[in-house]
């Protein structure tokens, strides 16, 4: 089972591998959330959702079900 953005811990960084195009809104891609980009988990909202990430220079909050669709490899 591969890692997704949802499996990052606060402060951890991952590299986006791929995602299912149907599950991801186009505008998330357009904001720079693309394969090969670094994504860092900055905060998790109190009820574990949404997630506050930094990707490709953008600071964004996305919901956990979206985050689970984005496969990453963790950077150590």
């Amino acid at each position: 089972m591969g890692d997704t953005i949802a499996s990052l811990l606060i402060g951890e960084i991952g590299i986006i591998q791929d995602f299912c195009l149907d599950a991801i809104p186009l505008n998330l891609l357009e904001m720079g959330c693309l394969p090969g980009k670094e994504v860092r988990l900055l905060q998790i909202a109190p009820l574990k959702d949404p997630l506050y990430i930094k990707v490709n220079g953008s600071h964004l909050a996305i919901r956990i079900e979206t985050a689970k669709q984005i496969n990453i490899t963790k950077l150590l």
Binding site: N27, L29, G32, Q43, P46, Y52, L60, T66
Partner: protein, 703 residues
């Protein structure tokens, strides 16, 4: 090509780039808010003198990250840029970018550039480059982007004149596209597109194909032609993805040559503030603290101007009556128009103060943190974190609040938000609450500190929110609308709010209230005046009838004239209407006079007070008795001999006003925003039925 004397300029950019600051600098107070034909989003336009001979009409388009829209607001950008028949179809486009997020801003820029408009890139907040360790090679960037570039700092008004100078020369700008998407995606497919639509640029054709459902302006012929290309949904999606990746590739290559950041700026105020403001305990405490502060201030500050306005219009009405020649026209002015205008103006202080706070919280970047904090909770109620702003705005006026729901991208979440907003206690309910509470709740303290009347008012506020949340849960379970739960929000940098921007924002929201609700309140005030001052033959012969009755023989002239006035009211059109609905409202504990006030308050709730004042004023015998409150307190129920506004009737009225949908302005806005009569009718009947049942139960338990 001959120079035009009035240029159409479109201002485009990501949210939080300072686009609105630039718009305010360019146009000052020469702004107007209009409507886009056929759709309902406000169109912000302003005139700007570019040079001696050149004036421009600037359209401030909603902030967007891409031309491909996800919300109603963003659809406007697409339509304005694609539909040449649109009034504000631009001669040139200004793309506003922010120096720190240049990469993402250039994504939108590259799309617009590919539409082959004369386009200029404005890089805002350039005054912060040194502090943030950013350097840009502007000359190379100009060459790579095939465009002119201006560095500005909109808030400090730096570089705005340079921008105007560049605009003068717009006819010589390079209009070549910056990314040649066709070769990189599928050259065969794009060649076919080019052959099919020789009249458009290739990128425009591509947008028409991918965004067909958002392009209502196309002719049916064109629609048919486009559908030919739109059969393979999977392929289109894959190509859109490819396009995005490719655009970023180009942008990254360009920025590698021209843009560098010195990463040593480690002091991160942002992450520290984020940690506190989105903390699982402090985050909520701070948010509710701020809410409390806002409502406290509204009550503390708004009452003074409201009293002044109230007094001013009462005097004005009196002045008109005494100074104008007697007659119907004077009555219309003094009793219809002036109180009608007053009834609109009285709300401006509260609305302005609330929107001042909301604009400040949005400007600083704090609102996005609240959205982040509240999203999960709001989702349990079928709404989105973004519903928080509309729901708070609803405590001022539902009309701008409903318009503020446009940035919610999920239709179901947006619809539920719109449907429940009218439950929040808007400022028009307050005068009704205030007077009824004063009548039925004793002015006492409980536990030595809490004022009972204040507690009741707070209870009504909470009741409004509870009703909103409960009906949202109900709708969430009942409405069968497919939801994808899409939600993305940018968390912008914290910044100090700009007073200028807040001011313009407040002006805009207040205008939305005046033109949404205000004109309806005014129009209906005049209709009500007409209904109250005209009637059937009994109405016309009131004087003869009353004086001919024996019992009136030895009454003083003053009492007699009041008796006549009462008889007139009873037999005026509105009196008839009150009598007709009396059987229906009787179970709630009301008589036909309250019925008149209920009918009247369908214009807007607060008209209830004015209507009762009129009724009891014409009715009171002998000397004029004091304030509206005293008159209402003195009113007796003829059947029981008890006070008319006893505890049971008062509570029943309070709850009726808490739940009923009595605002035509809101219904009209809901129709506009949902493009269907179904939803406003649902609100009207659903909320009305709830109010009716609750009031009947309350009255029967308490009486």
């Amino acid at each position: 090509m001959k120079s035009k004397s009035l240029l159409n300029i479109a201002l485009v950019g990501n949210p939080n780039t300072g686009k609105t600051s630039l718009f305010n600098q360019l146009t000052g107070l020469n702004q107007k808010v209009g409507n886009y034909p056929g759709i309902t989003v406000d169109k912000k336009q302003g005139k700007c003198k570019v040079s001696e001979h050149l004036t421009a009409e600037i359209t401030d388009l909603p902030g967007t990250y891409s031309i491909n829209p996800t919300t109603l607001d963003e659809t406007i950008v697409l339509e304005t840029l694609l539909n040449e028949k649109n009034d504000s179809f631009p001669d040139l486009v200004i793309v506003v970018a922010e120096v720190e997020n240049l990469k993402r801003n250039l994504f939108l820029f590259s799309q617009i550039k590919d539409l082959q408009f004369p386009t200029i890139l404005v890089i805002n907040m350039s005054d912060q480059m040194v502090r943030k360790g950013i350097s840009i090679d502007i000359d190379t960037l100009k060459k790579e982007l095939k465009s002119e570039i201006v560095l500005i700092s909109a808030r400090k008004n730096i570089g705005v004149d340079d921008l105007k100078k560049e605009i003068e020369n717009y006819e010589n700008w390079n209009t070549e596209p910056v990314a040649n998407i066709s070769d990189k995606i599928d050259s065969v497919f794009f060649e076919a597109i080019e052959t099919a639509f020789p009249e458009f640029s290739i990128y425009k054709s591509w947008l028409l194909i991918t965004q067909q459902k958002n392009c209502d302006f196309l002719s049916s012929d064109l629609h048919r032609k486009i559908t030919e290309f739109n059969k393979d949904n999977e392929k289109i999606k894959k190509y859109q993805h490819k396009e995005t990746v490719y655009r970023y590739q180009i942008i990254n290559e360009i920025l590698k040559k021209t843009y560098s950041v010195d990463k040593n700026e480690a002091t991160d105020l942002r992450s520290k503030l984020d940690r506190i403001l989105t903390h699982r305990i402090f985050g909520y405490i701070i948010f509710f603290g701020i809410l409390l502060l806002i409502f406290q201030s509204i009550f503390a500050w708004a009452s003074y101007p409201m009293d002044l306005i109230d007094g001013f219009f009462a005097n004005l009405s009196e002045l008109a009556k005494t100074n104008l020649p007697e007659g119907t026209f004077t009555n219309l002015i003094a009793e219809g128009v002036i109180p009608g205008v007053g009834g609109v103006v009285i709300f401006l202080p509260q609305i302005a103060i609330l929107f001042m706070f909301i604009a400040t919280l949005e400007e600083t970047g704090y609102m996005s943190r609240v959205v982040f904090l509240m999203d999960k909770i709001m989702r349990k109620f079928g709404m989105s974190g973004k519903s928080i702003i509309p729901l708070i705005s609803g405590t001022a006026c539902a009309i701008p609040a409903i318009m503020a729901s446009r940035n919610i991208s999920d239709w179901k979440e947006r619809l539920i938000t719109i449907l429940v907003i009218p439950f929040t206690t808007c400022s028009a309910r307050l005068p009704v609450y205030a007077i009824l509470i004063a009548l039925i709740i004793p002015d006492e303290r409980v536990f030595g500190i809490f004022n009972l009347q204040g507690l009741t008012l707070m209870g009504l506020y909470l009741l409004g929110f509870t009703a909103a949340i409960s009906s949202a849960i109900l709708l969430h379970n009942v409405l069968k609308i497919k939801t994808r739960g899409l939600f993305i929000i940018e968390m912008p940098n914290y910044k100090l709010p700009s007073i200028k921007n807040i001011f313009y924002e407040v002006v805009e929201k207040t205008k939305a209230f005046i033109f949404g609700a205000g004109k309806i309140i005014l129009a209906l005030s005049i209709v009500l005046w007409f209904l109250a001052s005209n009637g059937s033959s009994k109405f016309k012969n009131a004087t003869e009838f009353v004086t001919s009755q024996e019992s009136t023989n030895n009454l003083s002239e003053k009492v007699l004239s009041k008796k006549i006035a009462f008889y007139r009211l009873e037999h005026s059109y509105i009196g008839n209407m009150g009598k007709i609905i009396e059987p229906v409202i009787k179970p709630m504990g009301y008589d036909w006079k309250i019925g008149i006030a209920l009918i009247s308050s369908f214009a807007a709730r607060e008209v209830f007070i004015g209507a009762l004042a009129t009724i009891y004023n014409v009715e009171s015998e002998g000397e004029d008795v004091g304030t509206i409150k005293e008159r209402m307190a003195a009113e007796v129920n003829p059947k029981t001999g008890e006070k008319r506004f006893d505890f049971a009737t008062g509570m029943s009225l309070l709850l009726f006003y808490a739940f009923a949908m009595q605002c035509i302005g809101t219904l009209a806005i809901v129709k506009r925003e949902t493009k269907s009569w179904k939803w406003p009718i649902l609100q009207l009947t659903g909320m009305g039925a709830l109010a009716y049942v609750v009031s009947i139960i309350t009255y029967n338990i308490l009486s």
